[in-house]
Symmetry: C2
Subunit: 139 residues, 2 copies
DNA sequence: AAGGTCCCTATAGTGACTACAGGGTTAGAT
DNA sequence: ATCTAACCCTGTAGTCACTATAGGGACCTT
């Protein structure tokens, strides 16, 4: 209980991360290879818990593993300017906003599609009809 | 020019679909295996163009290939009720709306994160700080 | 000593493509 | 007739962020 070393299962429960995912983060270089016990079990220090928690929060906010890799590097050099951090977050926000706009356009299209359905036979189905093409002559 | 048979490249240009993607759709069973020329080139009929156009429009609307497979099956049986079509579209719309809600929550979080940035050093960066954990004691 | 729960490695699967590598075919210009 | 560029072919592996499985070893309690 005063043991500072954690098994992968404990880490898993503490961060709501599947064991396989933790091993995957290790293989992808996001987590350092931890010490091993005699029986070849991974043995994590509290710093690993912090790092994994950081990764999971950033993932929850939709940052990619590549972005997280950069954020972790930046976080390690505490004296540098945090402009680069800001940059990554801004870029990610812009991407999220683009996705929202795209999905809203989609939503309008689907709404329109569904509002036209009279629920008769497929032959007179406006959804199928809208999807079915009068293809353009390109070549 | 009165030739009804199309090469994969022509089909590609007419539907703005990469050649590899067309072959991928064939391998996934969305497009039937077309006839071949003497030189073993794929030779497509106008019906294939229609089918591919349908697939691409549905993809643009965010339907999955599995959903499209079902839609294509339904579209082929023109006498049946189009309820099932409606069902798929509604389900898809609901999913799009869920995604929009998720992304909006994300956007708010990122906005909050960014609004706190004073752009000093990483040590005082509120973005890094927010991501960095005071992990909960779970086990 | 047995059973259950943990842990290990390695590999393959997901979705929807995309990108090669390493060739064969065809159309048009010379 | 020959050359060349543009097209086409198959097959495989890569993308992202995991997830799942197989086939085993370790550990703890009873």
């Amino acid at each position: 209980m005063t043991n500072k070393h954690l098994t992968i299962g404990t880490l898993s429960r503490m961060t709501a991360t599947k064991v396989e995912t933790i091993r995957f983060y290790e293989k992808s270089g996001l987590l350092a290879k931890p010490a091993r016990t005699e029986g070849n079990y991974r043995s994590y220090a509290p710093a690993d818990l912090n790092r994994l928690s950081f990764i999971r929060r950033a993932r929850d906010l939709g940052f990619s593993l590549d972005q997280i890799r950069v954020l972790l590097d930046l976080a390690d050099d505490r004296s540098r300017s945090c402009e680069a951090v800001d940059e990554i977050a801004k870029e990610h926000l812009a991407e999220v906003e683009r996705k929202i706009a795209d999905l809203k356009a989609l939503q309008r299209e689907l709404d329109r599609l569904l509002s036209q359905c009279r629920c008769g036979t497929v032959a007179e189905c406006r959804i199928i009809e809208t999807l079915s093409p009068l293809p353009l002559e390109v070549n």
